[in-house]
Symmetry: C2
């Protein structure tokens, strides 16, 4: 039996390149006592991967050279030497970008397939959905009637943040990079306003849509977008830093927010979201979001590609904004 | 009777220059019903003045061209047509940089001269002391045993923050720009460690003095200092932005903190202090600080200069770090 996997060949210095990866096929040893064999059906490609490719540690270790590319993946157990898992169980975890994974069960999560299709467990019911849920509700603390601005709004985190904020009674503004994405936000996700940051003046539009300022800014983008949002804070604003995708390809020269003193004059706070801090509460959040999906209060959009040989091409879409919906690779 | 005052002649584009000010002497009209006449004895020169010289509004209006330079000043009432004030009362307020001020009583604060000498009411018992007190205690929320790093530590705000933090049981690190200031912090203010940012490597010293990171960073400086502090945060750190004196001379090109994502990974929060938000509680804080001074728990250092004609020269000392102690101009 053979496994095919994408491994880290070398570390990128700027943007991700095809040459950073190797596709390796190798014989698999049979599973040992306590282990399970998983046939991976869906692989999640998330912005955080670029950070994981750097050496050194942030909140989680960098991927080692030659190791399989880290990713949340999901699939079916096809062999088990572990009493906690049966053949036919569906599971997710940091199973990597490969066709098969062997796991001791540590960090593995059995999926309740009644709460959503398998790929949803990598998106709106997985890490990105949890990031949206806890980042917005625990850090942003939205109150009915408040204005929230979400950058990178067409991504799975951003669109989920905006839709949960609508459920909580907020006025929701999102920015994205194409007219199609903006139309999607307003027409299918129920956002009040969408801004095409490539063709519109974000600052002018924020002043039009939020004349009294933004109470919550949920940032997935960083850079200039963050600076513009800081100029438009309402008194008592919460700035929730989730990501900085505009800066990930050149982490050594990150553009810091020159308007950070606006947080002081707005009597605001800047904080962030590390989704792993809430892992004990994920099941509760999964259940609540699954309920909202069933009630059609949350729209889920996925962007699927196929074939591990397309790993690099697919990953690069994230950083150029070419994907439209949660990016999923089918190995 | 004549009044001599420093007025704003034009707005600086970068650093403050002598030509930004005019010294004007003019006849004074007699005071009207409800007014008091104050002979100003001490004028406070604070970092915030540079911001007030810009057009446009931040948390407080900019000074108008031709208007007296705004400052907290203090002096004695020498004539009164207001029942709330008697000749001989000492008062403070935004009375400007001049020899005499006429006030309707609005914003005027009668001083309890038993709690400290007049100039103290402009420093450790005035706005800077209140900024230290509320910024540290309400925003920083120090706990005994925690490590605090204060930048601009030899200034009145910084030295007061550090000394209150010592009273609260913290380990206190301060940075300043001369060996004499560093010696003062350790020997006279009881700081545990002082770093000369001009001759020492702040990052290396923070790693030595706070190997587990800094729980509270109280920032008066901004720029590179802020970025270095962000690399040294403990989990759950509070970053309290008070000022950014390294950036005030070029507000259009402020260096934003490129390491701001470290606040996220440290599960920290960045917030700020606007001292006017606590004005109702100032009397309580004045009393507590006056008590600490009486018990020799807080050391007060002042740097006095004399003559309104030396206004510009004195103000410039603040931004080059040449003053040593609370800067007070005697008109």
């Amino acid at each position: 039996m053979t496994n095919t996997k994408v491994v880290l060949a070398n570390r990128p210095t700027g943007a991700v390149e095809d040459s950073n990866f190797d596709l390796v096929t190798e014989e698999m040893a049979p599973i040992k006592q306590g282990e399970v064999l998983i046939k991976i059906e869906v692989i999640s490609l998330d912005p955080a991967i670029r950070g994981w490719m750097n050496e050194g540690t942030t909140y989680i270790k960098g991927i080692e050279i030659g190791a399989v590319m880290r990713s949340f993946s999901a699939g079916e157990i096809i062999d088990s030497q572990n009493d906690a898992y049966e053949v036919g169980d569906y599971v997710t975890g940091l199973l990597g970008s490969q066709t098969y994974a062997i796991s001791s069960g540590e960090g593995l999560k059995k999926l309740d397939m009644s709460s959503g299709k398998l790929s949803h467990h990598l998106g709106v019911l997985g890490m990105p959905g949890m990031t949206a849920y806890f980042g917005l509700l625990r850090r942003g603390q939205p109150k009915s009637g408040e204005v929230i601005y979400v950058s990178g709004a067409a991504g799975v985190v951003g669109s989920t943040v905006g839709q949960i904020a609508k459920i909580k009674g907020c006025i929701v503004i999102g920015s994205a990079g194409t007219d199609a994405k903006c139309a999607y936000l307003v027409n299918e996700c129920g956002f009040d306003h969408a801004i095409n940051y490539k063709t519109e003046d974000i600052n002018a539009k924020l002043k039009e849509y939020a004349p009294k300022g933004v109470h919550i800014f949920y940032d997935n983008v960083g850079g200039e977008t963050l600076d513009i949002a800081l100029m438009n804070l309402a008194q008592g604003a919460r700035v929730v830093i989730c990501g900085a995708i505009s800066q990930y390809n050149d982490m050594a020269n990150i553009k810091g927010p020159k308007n950070y003193m606006k947080i002081v004059t707005a009597r605001g706070v800047l904080t962030g979201i590390i989704v792993f801090d809430f892992v004990q509460e994920w099941p509760m959040a999964v259940e609540e979001i699954a309920g909202w999906i069933a009630e059609d209060k949350i729209n889920v959009k996925e962007h699927m590609t196929e074939g591990l040989e397309n790993y690099a091409t697919t990953l690069k879409m994230l950083y150029s904004g070419q994907n439209f919906g949660k990016l999923i690779l089918i190995p």
